[in-house]
């Protein structure tokens, strides 16, 4: 039986219907057409589906959509200013060429945002440690770390 869930996604009230066995990632992508979060491993290892749930970085593949009743979710679609342009982390990823194929990028940017929201001036070690749950098979990570450090200033 489908359940009605009332939640807030990217600062907008959103209601959706879902089965109890649908993950937040499936509802974001398939029901709400928010396809920024990616399905990589679907088991919590790769971080491609990272979103921020009630201020905490999570893998949306490991969250049931029904659990988000009353919750606030931020996805990659919600971080750029509404007035236009990019979020500073998105801009830094472009300027530092911190992406190649792009599949991992939304997850890395959400994870980086969660880090910088909590710790605006992390060390390189802290950036690498924090991002250890996000996998990238293209860049070798250095450019991603450089981009995050560029935002941190």
């Amino acid at each position: 039986m489908k359940t009605q869930v009332s939640t807030t996604i990217n600062n907008e009230p959103v209601e959706f219907l879902c089965q109890p066995n649908e993950s937040l990632l499936e509802v974001l992508r398939n029901t709400l057409s928010l396809t920024g979060a990616k399905e990589g491993c679907n088991n919590g290892n790769c971080g491609a589906c990272s979103v921020i749930l009630n201020g905490v970085l999570v893998n949306s593949c490991c969250v049931l959509a029904v659990e988000t009743e009353g919750a606030s979710v931020t996805t990659i679609e919600g971080i750029a200013p509404k007035s236009g342009g990019l979020h500073p982390i998105q801009q830094a990823f472009l300027e530092n060429a911190a992406l190649q194929c792009g599949i991992c990028t939304p997850g890395f940017i959400m994870a980086s945002k969660a880090l910088l929201d909590k710790n605006p001036h992390p060390t390189e070690h802290e950036v690498r440690y924090w991002l250890a749950g996000n996998l990238c098979r293209c860049t070798g990570y250095d450019k991603i770390v450089k981009a995050v450090l560029a935002v941190a200033g």
Partner: protein, 296 residues
């Protein structure tokens, strides 16, 4: 059209222990408690476990949160996620030997959801929190349809993936006794061996605690991870340390040998039997050194 791979189940958002326990008694093994979901959701999706009902237990007040006053015992609600535990600065400072383990369960996004109770209930032979909890003499507080009971963490895991919970029982909280005070100094540490720097499963691990008094070890706990079907208490290693001076190299060597002997590992893709037995001793020594330095 996307095909949802996860099996169908009903969802109950429990708000009281009685409600959760009633559902879990009614459905038995086909009811699965959900806290952080980082194990159970994956297991259900991959068909490694089956459920008719998933019971969300993290909105039950007693399962979510921490109870501690300086110098006192620490109670951790079973559904409390790792990041809220190690992110609590006073608690982290008082129990560094627990934080060693809690801060390395998965990556950041896992730690945002994964609960202490979940790591215990998953009962992985390599579960990082378990040897650390054993070293701290932690106790599981369990609610059931016929009353409440307490089980020491060292008796909670019964085989790989199996815990001591019976039909209709729910792990409510984990209690860690207050650290020794006065002339007695408590110290603990957890260390694991992994081939990477981060985000891996232990090849072998050790949680060690000591109580020091007058330069001697008066109490010791040595718990080993990933070297047997469940975490192992190395009793002979503990005996080798009790009564020894903190700088007694012979006692440390005896404890290392006893830990290696106590280890009953298998060879698998993470390591061979011989390497793991060797590492059980090495991890014991290193965790012991760290525990002693924290006790001083």
């Amino acid at each position: 059209m996307y095909i949802a791979f996860m099996q169908a189940f009903d969802y109950v958002n429990a708000t009281t222990i009685e409600q959760a326990v009633a559902v879990m008694y009614r459905e038995g093994d086909m009811a699965k408690p959900l806290a952080g979901g980082t194990d159970i959701i994956v297991q259900l999706r991959e068909g490694r476990k089956n459920a008719k009902v998933v019971v969300n237990v993290k909105n039950i007040p007693r399962l979510a949160g921490l109870d501690w006053a300086p110098g006192g015992a620490l109670t951790i609600g079973a559904a409390t996620p790792m990041h809220l535990i190690y992110g609590n600065a006073p608690i982290a400072a008082a129990f560094p030997g627990l934080m060693d383990a809690f801060s390395l369960v998965g990556g950041t996004a896992i730690q945002g959801r994964a609960s202490l109770g979940g790591n215990l209930c998953t009962a992985s032979p390599a579960g990082d929190t378990i040897p650390a909890l054993i070293a701290h003499n932690a106790v599981c507080v369990i609610a059931g349809t016929s009353g409440w009971r307490e089980v020491e963490v060292e008796k909670f895991c019964v085989s790989p993936g199996r815990n001591a919970l019976q039909r209709g029982e729910l792990l409510v909280e984990i209690r860690i006794p207050a650290n020794a005070t006065g002339a007695q100094k408590f110290g603990a540490a957890y260390l694991r061996f992994i081939p990477r720097n981060e985000m891996d499963i232990a090849v072998a691990s050790a949680g060690v605690s000591v109580v020091l008094e007058g330069g001697k070890i008066v109490k010791a706990r040595v718990a080993l991870g990933a070297v047997g079907p469940t975490p192992i208490v190395a009793i002979e290693a503990e005996k080798a340390l009790i009564g020894a001076a903190v700088d007694d190299a012979k006692a440390v060597a005896a404890a290392m040998a006893a830990a290696s002997t106590a280890a009953t590992p298998i060879s698998d893709m993470r390591g061979t039997l011989a390497q793991r037995k060797h590492l059980a001793g090495i991890m014991t020594k290193r965790a012991l050194e760290s525990a002693i330095s924290r006790a001083n």
